[in-house]
């Protein structure tokens, strides 16, 4: 794992958590949407918070796909679940939602899970693996 790849992983967690929080912030300011009036959902897309949330979630998908191109699914999924922890902090300190002790315990469990998986190898399939070569690492470090 290079520093650049950790940055991609950070982008996965940050864009997913901030994207979801922005959507929540936008939808809360718009009020409840009735399923009988689907046009209200189209209107919601153009509100600044929801639009920003959608842009961030597009960024999430791009960085998630990038991570999947050099790491196992069973490594990326738990490693990127740190986004739930960020989302909890944003919910508590930005949206001022109530976060009780059980949810903080959940945050601890997820952090432990992320810590466990990120200490192991990200690409472990020897049959089809493309082990990171020195040339590949040097190429990545040189990228802007």
């Amino acid at each position: 794992m290079t520093f650049r790849r950790y940055l991609v992983l950070a982008a996965v967690t940050l864009t997913s958590s901030c994207g979801d929080t922005f959507l929540a912030r936008g939808m809360k300011s718009l009020g409840p949407v009735s399923l009988h009036h689907p046009a209200e959902l189209i209107h919601a897309i153009f509100s600044p918070w929801v639009a920003a949330g959608i842009v961030l979630l597009c960024g999430f998908f791009a960085s998630y796909l990038t991570a999947l191109s050099w790491a196992d699914l069973t490594w990326v999924l738990p490693a990127s679940s740190f986004g739930y922890v960020i989302m909890e902090f944003l919910a508590r300190f930005w949206l001022h939602e109530k976060v009780d002790s059980l949810r903080w315990l959940g945050v601890l469990f997820i952090t432990a899970g992320v810590g466990f998986v990120t200490r192991g190898p990200s690409w472990t399939d020897p049959g089809t693996a493309r082990p990171e070569t020195a040339e590949e690492s040097a190429l990545e470090e040189a990228l802007p």
């Binding site: 650049r4 399923l35 796909l65 990038t66 999947l68 191109s69 050099w70 196992d72 699914l73 069973t74 490594w75 990326v76 999924l77 738990p78 679940s81 739930y84 909890e88 059980l102 949810r103 315990l105 959940g106 945050v107 601890l108 469990f109 997820i110 952090t111 432990a112 899970g113 992320v114 466990f116 998986v117 200490r119 192991g120 472990t124 399939d125 020897p126 049959g127 089809t128 493309r130 590949e136 190429l139 990545e140 990228l143």
Partner: protein, 129 residues
């Protein structure tokens, strides 16, 4: 909850989990087939990397399954409470993804990854309550 309602709930959660897992496995498999996107971007530019991803049929199928999973989740949420559907679907998807990745992608899901999947699974469930 009557037995028929319990069965319907199980079916709704199962449909979310199965479509999400299929989508994740197909997408991961497509990205593995395409190769390192950073390297492709260096050689062929950003548009080349985007074209490589979008021209993959497996990727398209994966996105279709993920979209189906999203609509299955929306339907389930319209029928049952979020506190039931949310944690059940999310945490079960972590476990089924690990199983499917081991079987179909031949990933080396060792004790460390099972432990991580279990811890995240419990954590996500606790967050929902």
């Amino acid at each position: 909850m009557s037995p028929s309602q319990i069965l319907a709930t199980i079916a709704m959660i199962a449909s979310v989990v199965v479509t999400a897992t299929t989508g994740d496995i197909l997408t991961a498999s497509a990205m593995r087939q395409i190769g390192d996107l950073d390297t492709i971007r260096t050689r062929r530019g950003l548009l080349g990397a985007v074209a490589a991803v979008l021209s993959s049929g497996r990727f398209g199928l994966g996105v279709l399954c993920l979209a189906l999973s999203f609509f299955a989740l929306l339907f389930a949420l319209s029928q049952r409470e979020l506190s039931l559907i949310g944690p059940a679907a999310t945490s079960l998807t972590f476990v089924t993804n690990a199983l499917a990745a081991k079987i179909f992608l031949k990933e080396n899901v060792d004790r460390r990854r099972w432990t991580a999947a279990f811890l995240v699974c419990v954590g996500v469930t606790l967050l929902a309550f």
